[in-house]
C-alpha cells in the first residue's frame, strides 16, 4: 500500500484510464451485456473513490477493481437465484444445489480478445455516429462522462443521456459481445476505423487554440488506434490509420502562427514538426505495407502515404509531387470524390504546372457537391494568378472570401485578392 498522498483522486483517474477497457471487457464477456458491465465497473470505481483515500492505493489496483466488480455481479446473481429459490420453495418444490456463479468467471484469459470485442461492440453500426464515438471514449478510452461532454462541447446531462441511450440500444438490439467474422467483418471494421478517425478529427479541428480538452482527443484517438493495430496486427488499414493520425498530429505545433492564425502545410516551419510521431507513423506505415503483402491499399493506407510524402520532405520544395498525384489518382478511383479531385489538381499544379491543373478544376466547376465550397474558387484563383491572369484571379479570391465561414481565412483571401 502506498499512502500519505495529498489526494488519491488523480491516481484513481489514472488507474481508471488504464484499467477501464480490460475491466469492462472482462465483465461484458461474463455478463454478456456491455451496459451491465459498465455499471458494475462504475460501482467498483465509486468504491475505490470511497476506500482508497483512507486505505491507500492497493498495490494491484486493477485486480482490486476487478474483485469489487465481480463481487457486485455475484451478489446480484445470488440475489436473483435466492429470489427464484424462495419463489419456488413457496411452491413446495425441491431445489437442486445452485451452481456457484463464481465458477463461470474467469477474468484473466482472453483479455486481448475481450478488449477487441468491446471496441467492436461500442462501434456497432446499430448506434448513431455520436453514440458510437461517446461509448468508445467512455468504455474503451476510460474518459468520464464529464470529460467526453467537455470535449464535444455539450452539457454533461446531454452526454450522459446519449451514453445511456447507446447502452440501451445495444441491449435492445441484442448485439452479441463478439468480434464479427466472415463477410460482416469488413464493414464492421470500417465502422471502428471511422469512429477512431472521427475522434481524431474532432480534436484536430480544435488544435488551432481554443480548448485543451478537445485537442486531447487527438492523443486519445492515436492511443485507440495503436490499441486497435496491436490487437488486430493483420489489418493493414488499422496500421494505416495510426500512421495517418500520427503524421497529421506531428504538424500540430506548426499549424498555427504566433497570433493563432492557420499556417498552410507548405508554409509550415517543418522544424516544429514532432519527429517522434513522424518516426512512429512511418513505422506504422511500413507495418501496413507488410500486412498488405502485395494486396492493394485501402483509403487509410493511401491517405497515410500522402501524409508521409510531406513528412519525408524536410523542405516544402523537396516534396515528391509526382508521387502525390499518383496517390490521389489511386485514392480517387477507390473512393471517388470531388474533394479528392480538387486535391489532385493542387498536386498536378505543383508537378506539371498551373495550366494542367486548371483544366481539372474547371471540370469540377459544376459539381453540385462543391457548390458553396470556398476552396474551389480559392484553388482556381491561385492557379489563375500563377498563369498571369490577375483580373480573373482577383474575382475568384473575392468569391472564395465570400464563401468561407472562417474570419482569419476570409482576411487571408482578401489580402491575396488585393495583392493580385
Amino acid at each position: 500500500m502506498s499512502s500519505g498522498q495529498p489526494s488519491v483522486q488523480p491516481t484513481v483517474e489514472a488507474v481508471w484510464r488504464i484499467e477501464t477497457a480490460r475491466l469492462i471487457a472482462a465483465l461484458a464477456r461474463v455478463t454478456g451485456d456491455v451496459g451491465l458491465a459498465e455499471d458494475l465497473a462504475q460501482d467498483a470505481l465509486v468504491a475505490a473513490l470511497e476506500q482508497w483515500p483512507s486505505d491507500g492505493v492497493p498495490d494491484n489496483p486493477g485486480a482490486w477493481l476487478t474483485a469489487v466488480a465481480r463481487r457486485r455481479y455475484v451478489d446480484g446473481v445470488r440475489r436473483a437465484v435466492t429470489l427464484e429459490r424462495k419463489v419456488e420453495e413457496l411452491g413446495h418444490q425441491a431445489q437442486p444445489e445452485a451452481v456457484n456463479p463464481m465458477d463461470e468467471i474467469e477474468f484473466d484469459a482472453h483479455v486481448t480478445d475481450d478488449v477487441l470485442r468491446l471496441i467492436f461492440t461500442a462501434c456497432h453500426p446499430v448506434l448513431p455516429r455520436d453514440g458510437r464515438v461517446a461509448l468508445t471514449l467512455k468504455l474503451v478510452g476510460g474518459l468520464s462522462t464529464e470529460q467526453v461532454a467537455r470535449a464535444f462541447l455539450v452539457p454533461v446531462p446531454t452526454m450522459a443521456a446519449r451514453i445511456t441511450r447507446a447502452k440501451k440500444a445495444l441491449t435492445a438490439a441484442k448485439v452479441p459481445f463478439e468480434v464479427p467474422v466472415g463477410a460482416e467483418l469488413t464493414p464492421r471494421f470500417a465502422s471502428v476505423l471511422e469512429v477512431v478517425y472521427l475522434i481524431f478529427n474532432e480534436g484536430y479541428a480544435a488544435t488551432s487554440g481554443e480548448s485543451w480538452y478537445r485537442a486531447e482527443l487527438c492523443d486519445e484517438a492515436m492511443r485507440l488506434g495503436r490499441m486497435l493495430s496491436a490487437l488486430a496486427p493483420d489489418e493493414p488499414e488499422a496500421h494505416g490509420l495510426v500512421a495517418l493520425m500520427e503524421i497529421q498530429a506531428s504538424r500540430i505545433p506548426a499549424r498555427t502562427g504566433p497570433g493563432g492564425e492557420p499556417v498552410t502545410l507548405l508554409e509550415q516551419d517543418r522544424g516544429r514538426w514532432n519527429r517522434l510521431l513522424i518516426t512512429h507513423g512511418l513505422a506504422a506505415l511500413a507495418l501496413a505495407g507488410r500486412s498488405l503483402a502485395g494486396a492493394s491499399a485501402g483509403p487509410y493506407v493511401l491517405q497515410a502515404e500522402l501524409a508521409a510524402c510531406h513528412a519525408r520532405a524536410f523542405a516544402a520544395a523537396d516534396t515528391d509531387w509526382a508521387r502525390i498525384v499518383t496517390l490521389y489518382e489511386i485514392l480517387g478511383r477507390l473512393t471517388p470524390s470531388p474533394v479528392i479531385e480538387l486535391n489532385r489538381a493542387v498536386a498536378v499544379s505543383m508537378a506539371d504546372g498551373a495550366g494542367a491543373a486548371l483544366a481539372i478544376v474547371d471540370a469540377l466547376a459544376d459539381d453540385p457537391a462543391l457548390r458553396g465550397y470556398h476552396l474551389l474558387p480559392a484553388v482556381r484563383a491561385d492557379l489563375l494568378a500563377r498563369l498571369g491572369r490577375p483580373a480573373q484571379a482577383r474575382a475568384e479570391f473575392e468569391r472564395a472570401a465570400a464563401l468561407t465561414g472562417n474570419d482569419s481565412e476570409r482576411a487571408h483571401l482578401l489580402r491575396r485578392a488585393a495583392a493580385t
Partner: protein
C-alpha cells in the same frame, strides 16, 4: 503529454551480466506488450553498459571539449534504458510504471517539454534557428 522513463543502470547491467535473468527478460517482454496494446508506448530501448560509452566534458569558457571513455563509476548515475510514453497525466505514467517488473532499481519519470514550453523564453530568431537545425538533423531518420 509525453514522458521519458529513465531506467538507471545496476551493477549487473553494467557488467553486461544477463545470464540467469531470462525470467526478468520474459517479464519485461510481457510488460512491453501491455504498453503497446494500451497504445502508450512510443519508443523504448535498452542501452549497452557504459564500458562502451563516451562522455564529453565541455569547458565552461567554451574553449572546447574533452572525451572520456567509459566505463563510468556510479551505476546509479548511468542510464541503462529508456521509454517514451504517451499518457494523459503524470499520475497515469506513475501507475503504468508501478506495473513494471523491476527489482532493486531506480526508474525516473520526466515530462518531455513541448515547443510551447519554450515560447517567450528565447528570442524568436533563436527559436527559428533551432527549429531549422532540428529539421535538418531529422531529415536522415524519416526514411524508416
Amino acid at each position: 503529454m509525453r514522458v521519458m522513463v529513465l531506467v538507471h543502470a545496476t551493477e549487473d547491467s553494467e557488467q553486461g551480466n544477463y545470464a540467469g535473468r531470462v525470467g526478468e527478460f520474459e517479464a519485461m517482454g510481457k510488460y512491453n506488450e501491455e504498453l503497446v496494446k494500451a497504445g502508450v508506448m512510443l519508443a523504448g530501448e535498452g542501452i549497452e553498459p557504459s564500458s562502451g560509452g563516451k562522455r564529453l566534458d565541455f569547458a565552461a569558457d567554451g574553449s572546447g571539449s574533452r572525451v572520456i571513455d567509459g566505463p563510468f563509476a556510479e551505476a546509479k548515475e548511468i542510464i541503462g534504458g529508456f521509454w517514451i510514453w504517451q499518457v494523459s497525466s503524470m499520475e497515469e505514467a506513475v501507475e503504468w510504471l508501478r506495473r513494471a517488473p523491476f527489482r532493486g532499481q531506480t526508474v525516473e519519470l520526466r515530462r518531455i517539454l513541448e515547443p510551447a514550453d519554450f515560447e517567450g523564453l528565447l528570442p524568436p530568431e533563436v527559436m527559428e534557428n533551432e527549429a531549422r537545425l532540428r529539421a535538418q538533423t531529422a531529415a536522415t531518420d524519416t526514411e524508416g
